[in-house]
Amino acid sequence: MLLGGVILLASFVYLGILFAIAYYGDKRADAGRSIIANPVIYSLSLAVYATSWTFYGSIGRAAVNGVGFLPIYLGPTLMCALWWVVLRKMIRISKVHRITSIADFIAARYGKSAMLGGLVTVIAVVGIIPYIALQLKAVSASFEILLQYPEVVMPPKGRAVALWRDTALYIALLLAAFTVLFGTRHLEATERHEGMVAAIAVESIVKLLAFLAAGIFVTFVVYDGFGDLFGRAAQLERTAPLMKFGDAAGASWTSLVLLSMMAILFLPRQFQVSVVENVNEGHVAKAIWLFPAYMLAINIFVLPITLAGLMHFPDGRIDADTFLLTLPMAHGQEALALFVFIGGLSAATGMVIVETIALSTMVCNDLLMPVLLRLKRLRLAELPDLTGLLLAIRRGVIVLVLLLGYLYFRLAGEAYALVSIGLISFAAVAQFAPVVLGGIYWRGATRSGALAGLLAGFAIWLYTLLLPALARSGWLPISFLESGPFGIELLRPLALFGLSGLDQITHAMIWSMLANIGLYVGVSLSGTQSAAERRQASVFVDVFRHESGGAGFWRGTASPRDLYLMLARFIGAAPAEATIADYARSRALPWPSDDLVADAEFVHFVETQLAGAIGSSSARIMIASAVKEEALTLDEVGTILDEASQVVLYSHQLEQKSRELENATAELRAANERLKELDRLKDDFISTVSHELRTPLTSIRAFSEILLGDPRLAADERTKFLGIITRETERLTRLINQVLDIAKISSGRADWQMTQVDVREVVADTLARMSQVFREKGVLLVEQLPERTPPVVADVDRLIQVLLNLLSNALKFSPEGRGRVEVSLRVLAGELRIDVRDNGPGVREQDQPFVFDKFWQSGDTLVAKPPGTGLGLHISRQIVEHFGGRMWVESREGTGACFSFTLPLAATGASLQVGPGR
């Protein structure tokens, strides 16, 4: 026997435990050790989505159209996959702007428009009231049914219970008191309620366990598992169709999936738990799969319980909405029935608490405060402390919303099943979808567009869903539905403009979304944005790019003291002091002190703090009253933009200049290195030349002095000395000529007589001239010349100079008597190659890289003075390179050396072009 007292006691103990959890959660939050900073708790708190609708109503809906209850959970599952993209962006925006409700969000996006915030609040309140009525209906019905235990009877319908005897009224008042205690014990600048979230998470576990317990009892205790239950149901005419995808489920399937996708984002309570109460946006990741998993679990037994209920109560006396409770009762399971009742109470209280807190925040911040603050007569802005007023308003709103819910329950609650009531609310909040989603992705959306779209969508919702609900309950003439207002058939609310054959929700969604989206886009595109709208649009759409919140576009003057006092009036002196001190410390500014400049950033900071307490529209009004704000004219905005683009341009130019400068510096440095090198070379050259000149000069002078000082010198001695002097003079002349040669070639002043030359002829002539000298020294001269060679472009005299130099070198190093010098001329691809090979001592490998250097001489110059100046090879190589050829040496020590050079063939007869002189 369950007495009313037992049920009430259990309920109060349960609510008391929840309150204790909430109290503990708040204490921990105040101590800075949050118990809800956990993705699992976040996911469980999102399950506030599952209300009495899910707990009792799904079964009622399944009894009519089978799987038709499922789209309400499949839609959110699909939306979860998009959460990381959509919900995370909404969370980030709300964190940056301290947004505390969906009305605040929309108002802030469209230029902090108080009118838009108010409209959203009205839509939310009007739209949600049926939903709250649903919870009251479910709790009061389950209470009255349980009270009859062990009898299973429905509470009589349609009787006029006196107000003071109506359970639903007491439940409404009880829930109001409980919500006030939960949500408005003190004013939070952030509107976050950690304790409440913890309690909601516990409630989510309780309702899931209660549902699963009842489901397992029915499926596995009353029946012998799923197979048995479904098998028996398939035999019955009443239950068999429910297991197929019938017309009833199919008709509204797609529109319900879409509707619930919107609801999971935009229901005020979902916005509260998923966005406002979010501790860490990373928690969204786990919720993406954990929350759908929860919904899956709580729905598994819906259809089995429905079928079992229909089979157990075949006469239709028992409302299918109550099967979850009545089945355990009918089987004498009083403890299970009580547990189910507590689970249903969890589902209802969770929804009511979060929803009314969210609504009270909205009504207070976005509807009442903007109006009250504007009313100059009230002088609200001058009151020293407004925290008490804010709390009083919110408590009043909570009580009012619950009483309105009760009123709707009294007026229209009897005519509809639970789910049908809830769907009306879903359709109302779905109207927020275009303005919110458009607002965070479409920069061009305007305030006027949002207002027009919302108004039109809401009006059609009122006309096609709310008014018919009232008409069916007898509060409007039923002819209004059947033949339209004033008998105009075209305007029938359930077949607007002749659109018939659809279920009521699909019909209402098509027309309201058409009007909503159409006007939103159309008006936005045809109008222009104000400066404030443009700024807010940019900070919303690009929230991941810049997070300062757009403090930069503001100018005006304010006293930091005034701003502090204003903040203190709304959130209390101590929190205000702490907040501003934090701000000052984080920027290393002095506080408390009058030196703190109220710059754009500080004013923006105070406005954001204020927005957390009273909403962005009200905060805007307050800031405007405290700050002598100079409105930013369009010209000024233009100037700011111009300046910005100028700066960007300058910066680009500067970068380019700096790059050019770097390049020039590098070139200069290289040139400087080269100059230094040349200078060093010149010094070396001069010192070497001087040295080379002094040797013959010394010798000439020494012999001349002997001749001068000793007139009695023998004639042959005299001749010998004169011969030495003559040779040394010749050598001196040669040296000077060669030095002059080098100077000319190096400076490019040499006089080149470039003509087409027959190299074979030149080589043959030169060899003929030298043959006598070779013969005298007993060196064999071998020549290998082709019949004829193509012409090359060169200076004949210079070419002969090169050949003579190489031949005399070869002769010089060839051993007397058995020497052999080979000269060969070959035609290769594009060039002629001339080799002069001797069988002298050769050039040591380590000397080979240097033989073409100036003044390089073979052998040990300290011991033996070799003949020659050491300039010949250098000059030869310069000449060959001037002709465009190469010169190199190949040699192995002891086997002779081979000096080779090439001359490029004249490509055509006309080409006399040669490389630049060196």
């Binding site: 993705p39 789209p71 979860c80 998009l82 959460w83 598992g225 199919g250 990373g282 993406i288 759908p292």
Partner: protein, 65 residues
């Protein structure tokens, strides 16, 4: 927990998959009397597809290393 760049794309792809799995047209195919282990095919398909979708979402999110 932060998701890398490609994860949102995978999740959006799962969203598209879900839209197909739960489309009214596809569900219309389960009108018959067929059962899976005694459970009607429609019911088994809906919850099976749902469970698979949730499992895939969990895989994408949790296996992010």
């Amino acid at each position: 927990m932060a998701l890398r760049n490609e994860h949102p794309q995978r999740l959006v792809a799962l969203f598209a998959l879900g839209c197909v799995l739960f489309s009214g047209t596809l569900l219309g195919m389960f009108g018959g009397e067929a059962t899976v282990l005694g459970v009607p095919a429609l019911y088994a398909y809906l919850f099976g597809a749902w469970a698979v979708l949730v499992a895939l979402m969990a895989l994408v999110v949790e296996l992010h290393d």
